[in-house]
């Protein structure tokens, strides 16, 4: 019997760090664990006893990549308790803010984190040496997203202008951003064309997709919960359908959907469940890219992200075109005791928040279910299916494949994890 241990000093190009352990015996994988060390529960404890107005700002700090997602899920959960629904121009502004975050996050992932996998580079910096114009285009795209977030949120990272009921101040004129977004839209279309020409491993998984669904739009800010098996429920019923459980190898929680583990949330799920609601140019780009009606190849998620940037740019331009400043930057929100639920589509997938406000307007309970925690079991299943028929490959190739398979899902592990090392055992 041979025993081999491989250690990779950090699984690179994921946001945050974790660890992966794979054991194989007689050609069969006997154990596969994506290890997560740091629980997000600390944040939930931090929220207890704070004023009901504070969670949007505090939870935004969980992630430097998707703070708007945390703000929006938190706002909607708390507003629902207080009997407030943000609509009209204020909702448009929230959508614009969120589109900016999608552009920022997807551009970063595509150009600096994911594309190097397909072009044979160890990372975005090495890729930039040979493909400078491409990386410059990616940075320009990201900058457009940053500027949109900054125009509405006050700054590009950790926006400070968001409050319950709306904003502290509404922007007066968004037309300067429109010019930038028109260039970004061109760059986004070129991005779809570029990434759709990559050489994708021939892999498909029988995913059970979960995404928000909205009657009037490709859901991002709000919606009900749709599952590809036909299950459909309002966000208020989330706790009855999605149950988190502790697993021995991880301090993050694994989510089960109606008793079954391993569902997938994120771009592939949104595309599978909501593609007909994409903007016209995004729909055409998806068709030209050969995505088909449903995409089950996780390696092609990079194409879906690019299509979503097109959608975000086109929709943002449409909203800016009709924008006139609201009469008031925010609706009044008065604390009421009760329990509320909120969910939105972070770049990586559905992000659910639940809060209970007590009799004096303080947070009594908080529950946050980030997309990466939901996807963790599914990522493990992906890795299992990918590795099992390829165990004879040299370990460096297997290691690279594992890293790529994890990056397919753009895990924001720092939301739920810290420090990733790879340990691969062949018994």
């Amino acid at each position: 019997m041979t025993h081999k241990t491989i250690r990779v000093g950090g699984l690179t190009r994921v946001e945050g760090e974790g660890a992966l352990l794979v054991r194989a015996h007689d050609g069969r994988i006997t154990d596969l664990q994506l290890r997560i060390y740091e629980p997000p529960r600390f944040f939930e404890a931090l929220l207890r006893g704070r004023a009901f107005t504070e969670p949007p700002d505090i939870t935004a700090r969980i992630c430097g990549i998707c703070p708007v997602a945390y703000q929006m899920s938190a706002c909607q959960a708390l507003e629902s308790i207080c009997g407030v629904t943000v609509e009209g121009t204020l909702r448009d502004l929230r959508l614009l803010l969120y589109y900016g975050e999608w552009i920022e996050s997807h551009a970063l992932h595509i150009y600096l984190l994911h594309a190097p996998d397909f072009l044979g580079y160890p990372g975005g910096v090495a890729m930039a040496a040979d493909h400078r114009p491409l990386v410059e285009r990616g940075l320009a795209l990201k900058k457009a997203g940053n500027e949109l977030v900054a125009a509405i949120g006050g700054r590009a990272i950790h926006p400070i202008n968001v409050r319950l009921g709306g904003f502290y101040r509404a922007p007066v004129d968004l037309t300067p951003i429109a010019e930038r977004l028109r260039h970004a839209l061109d760059a986004a279309l070129a991005t779809v064309e570029w990434v759709s020409g990559f050489d994708f491993p021939d892999v498909e998984h029988d995913y059970r997709f979960l995404a928000l669904q909205h009657p009037a739009e490709y859901a991002i800010l709000s919606g009900d919960v749709a599952v590809s098996d036909g299950t459909f429920f309002p966000v208020t019923e989330w706790p009855y359908h999605v149950v988190e459980e502790q697993v021995p190898h991880s301090t993050a929680l694994h989510a089960r959907l109606d008793g079954l583990p391993g569902y997938l949330t994120g771009p592939l799920a949104r595309y599978a469940l909501n593609a007909p609601q994409l903007s016209p140019l995004a729909l055409r780009a998806a068709a030209d890219a050969g995505l088909g009606r449903v995409c089950r190849n996780p390696f092609r998620s990079i194409v879906v992200r690019a299509v979503e940037i097109v959608h975000a740019c086109e929709e943002a331009l449409r909203l800016i075109d009709r924008y006139t400043p609201p009469d008031q930057p925010a609706l009044p929100v008065t604390a009421r005791p009760g329990v509320g639920h909120g969910a939105s589509e972070a770049p990586r997938g559905a992000l659910y928040h639940r809060y209970r406000i007590d009799d004096v307007g303080l947070i009594a309970e908080a529950d946050i279910v980030p997309p990466t925690a939901q996807n963790q079991a599914r990522i493990e299943a992906d890795l299992h299916a990918l590795l099992q028929p390829r165990l004879d490959l040299p370990v460096p190739e297997l290691t690279e494949l594992c890293e790529r398979a994890i990056r397919n899902h753009d895990p924001c592990i720092s939301c739920s994890a810290h420090f990733l090392d790879l340990h691969l055992h062949h018994d």
């Binding site: 000093g9 950090g10 690179t12 190009r13 946001e15 945050g16 760090e17 740091e38 997000p40 600390f42 944040f43 404890a45 931090l46 505090i58 700090r61 969980i62 430097g64 990549i65 703070p67 920022e104 970063l108 600096l112 990372g123 975005g124 910096v125 930039a128 040496a129 400078r132 990386v135 410059e136 940075l139 990201k142 900058k143 940053n146 590009a156 990272i157 950790h158 720092s414 420090f419």
Partner: protein, 164 residues
């Protein structure tokens, strides 16, 4: 005319990772313009592009005693390991900017050794003390700065030797 930017990096809710932000805020209280960056490498590159001098303050973890402050003018030894709590590390941003010819004319990085990077933690005592001393050092080193009416950036930069 020399144009200078001061940028504090970090995350307030990751313990000592918030040191760079704390320095930036303290500098602003002291009348020195400084930018806060939550770890976005593209924003970082954007902020220093075109500047003659950039000063970046970040937390570090190298095994030295907590609160140890280093001033790096030679950036060749910055680690590329992805142990940053930011999306990409500062080393990645420097390498990317170098590749794209978007480094500032001179880049100085102050690091302070962190003790804890746990979610929700606040600055540790040695790092909080170091934050104050770093802000005063940078303020002292830039004592003759003025703020450009056009850009809000600092000018000119009076460089002094590395701190001990």
């Amino acid at each position: 005319m020399t144009e200078t930017v001061v940028i504090g990096l970090g995350n307030d809710y990751r313990g000592d990772d918030g040191a760079g932000l704390a320095v930036a805020r303290l500098l602003r209280d002291m009348g020195v313009p400084a930018i806060e960056n939550g770890g976005d490498p593209a924003e970082l590159i954007e902020a220093w592009t075109g500047a003659d001098v950039a000063i970046v303050i970040d937390a570090a973890r190298s095994g030295e005693p907590a609160g140890t402050v280093r001033c790096h003018n030679d950036l060749s030894h910055l680690s590329g390991d992805s142990s940053s709590t930011h999306a990409l590390s500062l080393a990645d941003a420097v390498a990317l900017a170098r590749t794209l010819d978007r480094l500032p004319g001179k880049l100085t990085i102050y690091t302070v050794e962190g003790a804890t990077f746990a979610l929700g933690a606040t600055l540790s005592e040695p790092v909080a003390e170091a934050v104050t001393s770093m802000a005063h050092t940078i303020k002292r080193d830039t004592g003759l700065w003025e703020t450009s009416a056009d850009t809000g950036k600092l000018l000119p930069y009076q460089h002094v030797d590395d701190p001990p």
